[in-house]
């Protein structure tokens, strides 16, 4: 059984009198431990799919099951608890809390878990070391470069050891070398820890790091490619 199963997944928004349908009856399976890139033009439904998989949005129709849990059946509060346990989210613009240090940002998701202060400290430092930024643990986001901020954001995403890691253009705001470093880090997390990663990107080079690239257009899956193929698109 696949880790993520989408069947006829549809998401609609109402905007005035119009109904916008960024996802339209999508079927998709993602296996445990896979690294998947989502590509497609703006408005093709990439981020909507990512948000549905991450449990921060709900489908209008269809079924979405992650690790055997039908997300559509969960209440708002249960969905929040599920996210805390199973999802790590990396944003394009990092979205660190500006008044918290790198350490405090990474600690944020752990506050929801039944851990002692010492246990939290151990986990935060391990995560910061893994992303190579432990020496900046007491820096505020404004004191870090874009690449460093994204490393902190990745540490925050993995510190709870989530089932899936989702990234919405995680290199979209970075220069080439910082983007390369971030992708190398995501690759390590996938290879070493076996994390299931789903990532939205516009950059074929970034998509090439994934094992599988899915192309979306108008809310439907139009093409699927392996890593090398995806990079060539």
């Amino acid at each position: 059984m696949a880790l993520i199963e989408c069947r006829g997944l549809t998401r609609e928004y109402k905007k005035g009198d119009n109904i916008i349908r960024p996802l339209d009856g999508l079927d998709l399976d993602v296996e445990r431990g896979e690294f998947v890139a989502l590509m497609g033009p703006s408005g093709s439904g990439k981020t909507t799919l990512l948000n549905l998989v991450a449990g921060i949005d709900s489908p209008t129709r269809g079924e979405l099951t992650v690790d055997g849990v039908a997300l559509g059946s969960l209440s708002r509060n249960k969905l929040a608890a599920w996210r805390a346990q199973h999802v790590g989210y990396v944003f394009q613009l990092y979205n660190l809390v500006p008044v918290l240090t790198a350490y405090e940002n990474v600690e944020l998701p752990l506050l929801l878990h039944a851990l002692s202060r010492r246990e939290r400290h151990g986990r935060v430092m391990t995560a910061l070391q893994r992303v190579g930024i432990a020496d900046r643990h007491d820096h505020y986001p404004r004191q870090l470069s874009g690449g460093q901020e994204q490393r902190v954001a990745i540490a925050r995403a993995v510190v709870t050891d989530p089932t899936i890691l989702v990234g919405d253009e995680p290199t979209g705001d970075l220069d080439a070398s910082a983007a390369e470093a971030v992708m190398a880090l995501l690759g390590e997390l996938h290879d070493d820890l076996g994390k299931t990663i789903i990532m939205v990107t516009h950059d074929p080079k970034t998509a090439a790091c994934a094992e599988r690239t899915l192309h979306l257009e108008k809310g439907r899956l139009v093409r699927e490619a392996g890593a090398m193929e995806g990079a060539a698109v």
Binding site: T48, D57, N95, V99, L111, L112
Partner: protein, 383 residues
């Protein structure tokens, strides 16, 4: 999951947005200073005018007179009053004030027969400095109430001038009765003679009756006794006498209550405004928290927590400032020899803080509710 572990997050949000928090706290502090000051005046009115069970004191004043300068009664009324059934004692008092108008700094001299006064009232007062013997021995000696002594910086051994009288401070007294706290007790003859040559004339009699239930009947009996005399009397319980003399002040303080309510409304608007602005500028941040797994209820709680912290911080500052100013200033609103103390007690502060905390929570509720109801994905689009 303990909510306590999120307290540091709330405190960091408040302390690390320094400018915004400082301005909000300052605004709340100013409003709470005013509110506490108004409450302190209200408290003073209550203490000075509210009848308490077990009180047995009547004040006999000249009928149709409202100030000590015009209330003149023959001292020999004393023996006739003391003959009335139920009367324990009648102490003649000559009142001289430094200022007949309402003021925060009036010196009131009360001339009393020393031995009788000590026998009747001595037990209700505590001598906190100086010597009672000194007071009995010297003609010009005064026992000064603690509030007056603090306000005027008076200590035993000093002399002071007021209302054309120069008195020697023999001791400082403390009493539960606010009227004692703001006066200088001297010998009756000393006040009668001090530049006025009014020997045999007193302002009022303070009459003690056997039982509280006899207050009304004794008062009626006294006024009946002197009804046809050249100087008729009007007799009241001590508290209603104060209420009658100080009714202008009491009315003003009553009006000031509306100012207090206005202060609370200002605090509510200020905190709510600060939280609304804060929430609006942090839509993305709250969406991130929810993405991390924070429930909408928890996010709402954190927002309300910020309102509570801001409000309490301002409340503590404002209330403490009011307390310190009232304590150090030892203010009392005085008119015609009657004092309404400004009582900034710890109870008043506690009330202010409870009100402040409640307002902080109320101020944060609506923005918290709004923030918690937003769709996460929509927040990211809006941020």
């Amino acid at each position: 999951m303990s909510v306590g572990r999120f307290v540091p997050y709330v405190l960091k949000q408040v302390t690390r947005h320094r400018g915004r928090s400082a301005l909000t706290v300052a605004g709340v502090a100013i409003a709470m200073f005013l509110f506490t000051a108004v409450q302190a005046m209200n408290r003073g009115v209550t203490v000075a005018t509210q009848e308490r069970a077990g009180e047995t004191t009547l004040v006999v004043y000249r009928a149709d007179r409202y100030c000590p300068a015009t209330s003149e009664l023959p001292q020999d009324y004393q023996s006739r009053i003391e003959r009335i059934e139920g009367v324990v004692s009648a102490i003649p008092v000559k009142v001289v004030v430094s200022n007949c108008r309402t003021s925060l700094d009036v010196v009131t001299f009360r001339g009393v027969p020393k031995e009788a006064f000590l026998a009747e009232r001595g037990g209700a007062m505590e001598l906190v400095a100086g010597s009672a013997e000194d007071w009995k021995r010297r003609t010009d000696a005064a026992l000064v109430g603690e509030t007056l002594a603090t306000r005027r910086g008076l200590r035993p051994g000093m002399t002071f001038d007021a209302a054309g009288i120069t008195a020697y401070v023999a001791g400082v007294i403390r009493s539960d009765n606010p009227q004692d706290q703001n006066v200088a007790y001297t010998a009756l003859e000393f006040v009668q003679l001090a530049g006025r040559d009014r020997l045999g004339i007193v302002t009022q009699f303070n009459v003690t009756v056997e039982d509280p239930s006899m207050l009304e009947s004794v008062a009626a009996e006294i006024d009946g006794t002197f009804k046809t005399a050249q100087e008729p009397t009007a007799t009241f319980t001590e508290k209603s006498f104060i209420g009658r003399i100080a009714d202008d002040i009491i009315e003003l303080v009553g009006f000031a209550r509306w100012l207090g309510i206005g202060c609370l409304a200002a605090v509510l608007a200020l905190v709510a405004n600060a939280i609304v602005l804060s929430v609006q500028s942090r839509i993305g941040e709250h969406a991130v928290l929810q993405t991390l797994g924070y429930s909408s209820r928890l996010v709402a709680l954190l927002i309300v927590g910020e309102g509570l912290v801001l409000s309490l911080a301002g409340g503590v500052l404002g209330a403490l400032a009011a307390y310190v100013v009232a304590r150090l200033g030892s203010f009392a609103l005085a008119v015609e020899g009657v004092s309404i103390p400004i009582e900034a007690s710890l109870g008043v502060i506690a009330t202010g803080l409870v009100v402040c905390g409640t307002i902080g929570v109320l101020g944060g509720l609506v923005p918290a509710w709004q923030a918690s109801r937003r769709e996460i994905a929509a927040c990211f689009r809006a941020a």
